[in-house]
């Protein structure tokens, strides 16, 4: 068992327009990428951290870049009363502690 933050080499988040949050997770090597791509597959566990429904969470695997992109609608629209992070630049932190079970790499 490890966490996404411990396995990744770099994690960043940003708005993708006012209505979407997108989080990019980069890995230093194939081993870390493969492990994460086999275990970072539960949209419900990710969505729960952002008060977003599982069926709205999109996970994109980018093996050539050793990266995983996670996108979801913002739970509060950018800049609305109650928004805490105008550019969503700090929202990745909520994902760093995501536990990654030891996957079953083929």
């Amino acid at each position: 068992m490890t966490t996404l933050g411990a396995l990744a080499s770099h994690v960043r988040s940003k708005n993708a327009g006012p209505f979407w949050l997108t989080i990019d997770v980069f890995f230093a090597d194939d081993i870390a990428y493969n492990r994460a791509s086999h275990s970072l597959t539960d949209p419900a566990a990710i969505g729960a951290r952002y008060a977003v429904r599982a069926d709205q969470v999109r996970i994109h695997l980018l093996p050539r870049l050793l990266a995983i992109k996670v996108s979801m609608p913002r739970s509060v629209v950018q800049g609305c009363v109650g928004d805490r992070d105008m550019h969503a630049g700090q929202q990745f932190v909520a994902l760093l502690g995501l536990p990654l079970p030891d996957g079953d790499p083929e």
């Binding site: 993708a16 990019d24 992109k69 932190v93």
Partner: protein
């Protein structure tokens, strides 16, 4: 697809200089001359984004400093005039409202006069009238994007400003009118690079992908602050190269930019269709330049124009109070709950306000203000906290009355069970800070159009000496 100016088959390549990701962001004084040396056929620069939030669209004001925009334009216009190449500025004045286009036009006029040059300038306006859109909505021509927001004529009427995001077509049409400078209202970032190249007849796959990679200037390089990039687009692909000699583009830095601020890392919708980069290859030509091939563009069955609209959400007044007392910080949740309970009890009776007609937010900077309920370390006691109290109401006077009513509690609220009244650290006098009107983005919709230019209006004239 290729805009109104269709060139002969002779055009084999087009070079676009994107000096900076945002007009007014600043770039080295050598950037323009060096970009022109590299063979730039056109200078394209983005002047806006929704990224700074709804205020700028809601009020039609720019987030950039006027002097910084003038400084960038001085370098761009002087270089373009020397080289005899056109300049395209998109999303003028941050949100691309008509006021934003006129604001940049005023700066261009000043700079042109100062340089002693004249320019033929096209202004392409992108602002939309609520009543026109209400008719389109009625006709079934407006559709929600995901996540879908409700829309009716009343909501359109509440918007203080609405813009449509133009594609390349109105910009290409302005170039075809002989414009040396095109000042576009709200436009897709990519359209600024794409307009000239598509008008020259280059294929849309490489053109749109080059537009996406170049949109933020040097952000696709290893040194984002070094100045912009030049993209060389040809019939089979494009090559991207940083302007600064010490900066590098690598296959990773270029490919990673396709992910940036994009919900889908492979597909990007434009008014005319969708860029698909799934099969694109990124190859290092040397240690500075990257070659990209295999990008495709799928024309859409229906041409659509995306809308952005901002409506007034209320007025705010805030108070910042610092807490350093370890006792209070060790029981911060309790302290906040008691404060909130007191405010909920005292506000309706004292100010005569109904629940739901105002809103109180208590953000705890230094503890969990940024992540809220998602804060992973919320069980740890902080060393120091800035309580940011925000009152939102229908008018400024009410918001300030809410803050004034909360003021003594924010200053002196004791811990439950404590007899002695503490005093916390207010930031300044008056403690109340009026934020003015606050806006919200309320449109996430597209309009079906038959003519890509039908929602936009162009005016052409001369400025300068």
């Amino acid at each position: 697809m290729t805009g109104s100016r269709v060139a002969g088959p002779a055009t084999q390549l087009v070079r676009v200089l994107m000096p900076v990701g945002m007009l007014g962001g600043g770039f080295p004084a050598t950037t323009i001359a060096r970009g022109i040396e590299l063979g730039a056929d056109v200078i394209a620069v983005d002047g806006g984004s929704t990224d700074s939030g709804p205020h700028y669209l809601g009020t039609a004001t720019a987030k950039t400093a006027r002097a910084a925009v003038a400084r960038d334009l001085r370098l761009i216009l002087a270089g373009a005039k020397r080289a005899g190449i056109p300049v395209i500025v998109g999303s003028c004045g941050t949100s691309g409202t008509d006021t934003g286009v006129d604001w940049v036009h005023g700066i261009v006029s000043e700079v042109a006069a100062e340089l002693g040059h004249s320019f033929r300038v096209a202004r392409v306006y992108a602002e939309q009238r609520a009543e026109d859109l209400a008719r389109l909505l009625q006709a079934g021509r407006i559709h929600p994007l995901e996540p879908a927001l409700p829309l009716d004529a009343a909501l359109l009427g509440r918007c203080t400003h609405i813009v449509g995001l133009m594609g390349h077509e109105p910009i290409a049409a302005a170039l075809a009118c002989g414009a040396e400078v095109v000042l576009a209202g709200r436009a897709t970032d990519t359209a600024l690079t794409a307009a000239y190249a598509l008008a020259e007849g280059l294929p849309p796959g490489p053109v749109w992908h080059a537009g996406k990679i170049a949109e933020c200037g040097g952000l696709c390089t290893t040194d984002p602050r070094s100045g912009g990039v030049v993209v060389t687009i040809d019939r089979d692909g494009f090559t991207v190269e940083p302007v600064a000699e010490h900066a590098q583009c690598t296959p990773a830095s270029v490919a990673a930019h396709m992910m940036y601020e994009n919900a889908d890392p492979f597909r990007l919708r434009e008014p005319a269709g969708t860029l698909d980069t799934r099969d694109a290859t990124y190859t290092a030509l040397d240690d500075r330049r990257v070659r990209v091939e295999g990008s495709r563009f799928e024309p859409a069955a229906q041409h659509t124009i995306k809308l952005e609209g901002a409506a007034l959400a209320g007025y705010q007044t805030m108070i910042i109070s610092g807490i350093r007392d370890p006792q209070v910080l060790s029981r911060l949740d309790e302290w906040c709950e008691q404060l909130r309970g007191y405010l909920d009890a005292v506000i309706p009776g004292t100010l005569g306000l109904q629940a739901g007609s105002y809103r109180i937010d208590l953000l705890r900077y230094g503890h969990d203000a940024v992540l809220g309920a998602a804060e992973p370390c919320a069980s740890e006691a902080p060393r120091e906290v800035g309580i940011v109290f925000i009152a939102t109401a229908a008018d400024q006077a009410t918001a300030t009355q809410l803050a004034k009513l909360a003021n003594p509690a924010l200053l002196h609220a004791p811990l439950p069970g404590d007899a002695e009244l503490p005093s916390f650290a207010f930031l300044g006098s008056p403690a109340e800070i009026e934020r003015g009107a606050v806006h919200e983005f309320v449109l996430h919709h597209v309009v079906d159009v038959t003519d890509p230019g039908e929602l936009f209006r162009t005016a052409v004239g001369e400025v300068g000496a």
